[in-house]
Symmetry: C2
Subunit: 304 residues, 2 copies
């Protein structure tokens, strides 16, 4: 139902009077509004106990950290620099002040690391589970282009940061949002399209391709598999890397003319891997296996 | 616990590097960030089933409307013009697509009325009750002063819009956020301080006074009581007006030199009432009753 609702939302049109101000609206990782000399970038994400984390199993500090970090990952996918955040808490009735402070300390540590001001919020006690929402406001240059989810060009190299799979073992709470990487790349390279991996590598590769009406051919052997799954589940490592989700790495679609320079650039702060390339020959995800056979990959993700 | 947590939050300091950009941070109705030629104003509010509305009793359209309207009321209290909003939905598992569309239509109708772009959001299905969050981004002139919660000056007239009490009979879902009024007043009058009435008239009067370290003297007979309570609960009308909450009217603290001109201005779009005045002689809410006796008023509100 969520996905149906999303599709319907993207079709809702804006009043004419507003459309000139909106650079990017519903359907991308974050919204972009034209300002007077730069653009505002706005992302919002809410996490809830039982769905995105488990109370008792995960520390409140890490839960708070995650609530902000998932939003920063969305801003990274737009190559925007985060500036400020507002928070929203629904606290279970049995929560004490110390619980609320722990939650906040996880948020504020990450906010300081990224030089983000916590400027406001809304707190309610209620009978339901813990819910933490954050909206992050960022900025990027008015002249910046690319970095949309639908900008993939046929022939582009499909490049990912970091590694995939097994985030459930802890990385979904402790990952580093790829802000620094994105801002460096936006300043030095042409990036046609980008998104972050929240659902799963296969689902978000598919989202990127289908938003642009294209397909992606990639090499199974190229997929960077995280040490988390290589250790815990070696037989299923590739499957985990493609389907686990919540890796919060970037997928970028980059002109071939940029790829050589990019891979040899020692200032890129995170490992990058070329998975494959975009194609206009089909509209699927296709992977070549060890036997040299092309297989259609069905996008799959973790269902909360 | 919410109020303790709020008090603690307000004491958390910002990193030095950020403070120059923040005009108004945590503790006011909305945050204000300095932009290049105007200021960004950001408000966030989340409403939840069982706390702020009842599913089954209230229509999904009105629930959606309320989620946006409460944020617009916060922007009105800062005299900011709303520009864009991002939404956040936690939908109960049994919700269908039509339910989600109804919710959205209540939001989008109000958004169109105020010329606000819905630019993004986040949707999750979960096992808990319906939760709808909105963050609204607005703007106001960089030269605009006043309209903070802590700007009350001794001797200021304390002026309210509209009437109070009995919002539970429906007005808490259908109220008109006072954006038009606030923008008109900001353009034509000096307003030292303002807030909107969400907790209750007595609690928010007290919040305004105590944020400025002052007291307020007012006249019980001056309190404008809504027809909702005059009809349903005439014996308790004044008590309801002071304590019911969710009226979403404005309380403003205005220099006496402005009051005469303001009350005779035919272009003011909403009824205004002078309740009393701010004083540095005490730090309480005091009201004069029919017998001419001054009484200390204990701030009370509706507990969700």
């Amino acid at each position: 139902m969520e996905h149906e609702f999303h599709r319907w939302l993207r079709k809702q049109t804006l009043p004419e009077s507003l459309s000139s101000r909106i650079v990017i609206g519903i359907g991308d990782d974050a919204a972009v509004l034209r300002g007077s000399d730069d653009c505002l970038v706005i992302a919002t994400d809410t996490i809830a106990a039982g769905t995105h984390f488990e109370l008792g199993r995960h520390s409140l500090e890490l839960v708070g950290r995650k609530a902000l970090a998932v939003n920063l990952s969305d801003l990274a996918a737009m190559a925007a620099r985060p500036v400020a955040t507002v928070l929203s808490f629904l606290l279970p009735k049995q929560f004490g002040l110390d619980d609320a402070k722990l939650l906040y300390s996880g948020i504020s540590k990450l906010a300081r690391e990224f030089d983000i001001a916590i400027v406001g919020g809304d707190t309610n006690s209620w009978d339901g589970p813990l819910v933490v929402g954050a909206t992050v406001i960022g900025q990027r240059g008015a002249e910046q282009t690319g970095w949309t989810i639908d900008g993939v060009q046929p022939g582009d190299g499909i490049v990912v940061s970091g590694s995939f799979g097994g985030s459930i073992h802890g990385r979904h709470l402790t990952f580093s949002p790829r802000i620094e990487l994105a801002i460096y790349l936006a300043e030095h390279y042409r990036i046609n399209a980008a998104t972050d991996v929240s659902d799963s590598l296969s689902m978000d590769l598919n989202a990127l391709a289908s938003a642009s009406g294209l397909g992606i051919d990639f090499d199974y052997n190229a997929v960077p598999v995280s040490s988390d799954v290589r250790e815990t589940d070696p037989g299923q490592a590739l499957q985990c890397a493609l389907c686990d989700g919540e890796d919060f790495e970037l997928i970028m679609s980059i002109p071939q003319s940029e790829i050589g320079r990019l891979l040899s650039d020692p200032r890129v702060p995170v490992d990058l891997t070329v998975l494959g390339k975009a194609t206009d020959q089909h509209r699927e995800l296709r992977a070549i296996d060890n036997a040299g056979v092309w297989i259609t990959v069905t996008p799959q993700g973790y269902v909360h």
